[in-house]
Amino acid sequence: MKIQKINSMKNVLVLGLLLTLLSGCGAKQPAELEAGMGIIPPTKPVSEYVKSDIVYPVDAYDPWEGFNRNMYVFNYYFDKYLFLPVVGGYEWIMPDYFEDRISGIFKNFGEIRNFMNNLLQLKGKATAVTTGRFLVNSTIGLLGMYDPASHWGMPRYKEDFGQTLGHYGVGAGPYLVLPVMGPSTLRDTTGLAVDAFVRSEVLDWALDDVDNKSNVRTAIDVMEAIDARHRVGFRYYQSGSPFEYDLVRKLFLEKRKMDIAK
């Protein structure tokens, strides 16, 4: 049953991807649209009022804007018809208290990623604290269900491989809206793949003598995805702003820049 569900999830995903790719990638730019046949020029046309010699904060390197905007819409529907109903069901069944414990376990598991990337960036203090956190929370904190480490002055130093690449000077590259995962960049997507590979290897090793390994792994993957969405309050198009795509893009890119600088 579970497997079936996941398979259908995959199907929806692949179908969505294909449709999106096939639907053509060009996001029409206002200046082109304005120049169309029979179009009545507005009072303040883009061609005149957007100045080419001025930098606008909203500008971003987004050569795949057409693909990205399509994916942005796709993610809304994926959320609406699959992801959020599943997350909603989970939230309905689970008391808040247990939701938080489950989040804790996955956050604690994520410390392996934090550890690896703090170490790769040679951040001594953060690496040490992360190690301490992981040890304390895995034992006294019961696999991360509780977070005594934070109370004892060991905060969470979030780092991922995208940040590691950025730390060593790799530029963000084109902005990229990933299916399901949402805003990213070419660099961060690469990072995501590396982190996912490491996670998978660790999980493989940890589950070495478990029967039914592939089923257990799938269950963990699904649970982690549900927990991750459960923790993110963001809802596509919820702001109602016609410029939400631009604002989200900007905020995402700025936030990543700051996280890398930290």
Binding site: A27, K28, Q29, P30, A31, L33, E34, G36, G38, I39, I40, P41, P42, T43, K44, P45, V46, Y49, V50, K51, I54, V55, Y56, P57, V58, D59, E65, G66, R69, N70, V73, Y76, D96, P155, R156, Y157, K158, Y237, Q238, S239, G240, S241, P242, F243, Y245, D246, L247, E254, K255, K257, M258, A261, K262
Partner: protein
């Protein structure tokens, strides 16, 4: 007997003294600068203690105008969204109207919703009529800004919500509130209710309202335009510096995330002069205004930024329209190019000043003076008010005006004393 009387007297005088002291007690909202208060609002430790989670149902499918042909580019705003926090037993209902550009789920709205819910009310949270979702889904004209039309739209929506309610037996008396522009609108909605009598609001509280929405909007616009050195074409320099300052504080500080606490502690390092703070407030207003300007332009086919006969799709790039909308003169540009012409077409003799003065609370001064059910909360240093506005409020509302010595524009709304005042206002009959 005598001794007993003495005791009673003593207790009474003590009680009286406590009340007096209570009134004279100092107001300890911690931020003295109105710009900082407006930006930071209330530091966590000074906030009223509210429940973390309450019973709220979000409604996402309210089709206000089933026959309306919504442009494809606004497909996600076709239905009006709102949220209701509901009690399980019969309870009074408070309607809340958000401030300029804010949705029903803005931080301030959520804070108020929790406070009123905790105080035992059903709480209905409505987006501002200037929010794109409201403009597309519920504005009869598609161009907000004329406060009487906006209030009618609000009233119609509220009335239909009431009709749609499946649990009418749980609905008690009606109350109304709103902050900022929503506060001003609340007064006009209350006035309308005197004629239409659907709700017969028992009490109405205006929180940090604008006296004249046009004047306040122009003031906010000027805060941006006047404080960008070299003018709006150099806005990017301001923005870059702001981001650099945030990054610097973030990188060298102890905070591991960009939390409210971080911005509070790093405020002086991020905004290094009062001018920058003003520019930031103006910028935030300008984002709301760009949403409004673009949305109204498309909804009314005014042809101001978007060609009037162009049908945008759900995936066309809108970035450049955002650039055009966010520069220029702001609210006055919107009024002069979209809103006012539509009204002037119907009333040729109408001057711009006459038109904008219709959206001033002065228009309903007599009503506000004699309506004891209407109260007002504001701050001496509210940045959207002009000199003399606070005195005007005092004169019109008398003891029904609660004026705090500081708090900027809505900065102290979540402060514990303010929340207590706000909930007591509705709870005490």
């Amino acid at each position: 007997m005598k001794k007993k009387l003495q005791h009673v007297l003593l207790v009474c005088s003590l009680l009286f003294a406590t009340v007096c002291i209570g009134q004279a007690a100092s107001y300890d909202y911690p931020i003295s600068d109105p710009i900082e208060a407006t930006i930071i609002s209330t530091p966590k430790e000074a906030m009223a203690i509210l429940p973390k989670k309450i019973r709220v149902k979000e409604y996402l499918t309210f089709d206000v105008f089933p026959d309306r042909d919504v442009p494809e580019v606004f497909w996600y705003n076709e239905k009006l969204r709102y949220a209701v926090a509901y009690q399980k037993d019969k309870a009074p209902v408070i309607f809340m109207i958000a401030g300029t550009g804010a949705g029903y789920d803005s931080t301030k709205m959520k804070m108020m919703q929790k406070a009123f819910f905790q105080a035992g009310f059903h709480v209905v949270a409505l987006s501002s009529p200037t929010h794109p979702n409201f403009i597309v889904a519920a504005s009869s004209s598609g161009m907000p800004g004329d406060i009487r039309s906006d209030s009618e739209d609000l009233y119609n929506v509220m009335e239909e919500m009431l009709e749609r309610s499946k649990k009418k037996e749980l609905i008690g008396d009606f109350y109304l509130t709103g902050y900022s522009l929503g506060g001003t609108q609340a007064a006009f909605v209350a006035k309308l209710d005197e004629e239409r009598k659907v709700f017969n609001f028992k009490k109405v509280l205006m929180i940090n309202p604008a006296l004249n929405i046009y004047d306040s909007a122009v003031k906010l616009d000027k805060m941006l335009v006047d404080n960008i050195p070299g003018g709006m074409d150099h806005f990017n320099d301001f923005y870059t510096k702001l981001m650099a300052n945030i990054t610097k504080s973030y990188v060298h500080g102890d905070f591991v995330d960009l939390s409210h606490g971080f911005f509070y502690s790093a405020y002086d390092a991020i905004l290094t002069s009062p001018e920058e703070g003003k520019a930031l407030i103006g910028f935030s207003f300008r984002i709301s205004l760009s949403n409004l300007l673009f949305t109204s332009d498309v909804m009314t086919h005014s042809g101001f930024i978007v060609p009037k006969n162009l049908e945008l799709t759900s995936t066309d790039s809108l970035t450049d329209y955002g650039k055009v909308a966010s520069r220029g003169c702001g609210f006055s540009e919107y009024v002069e190019n979209i809103l006012y012409p539509a009204f002037k077409a119907k009333e040729p003799g109408l001057s711009l000043r006459q038109f904008v003065d219709r959206s001033s609370l002065r228009v309903i001064e007599d009503y506000l003076k004699k309506s004891n059910k209407i109260g007002l909360v504001t701050n001496v240093d509210d940045i959207i008010l002009a000199d003399g506005d606070v005195d005007y409020f005092k004169q019109v509302f008398g003891s029904r005006a609660k004026i705090y010595p500081r708090g900027g524009h809505c900065g102290n709304m979540a402060y514990k004393d303010n929340v207590a005042y706000m909930t007591d206002f509705f709870k005490i009959k």
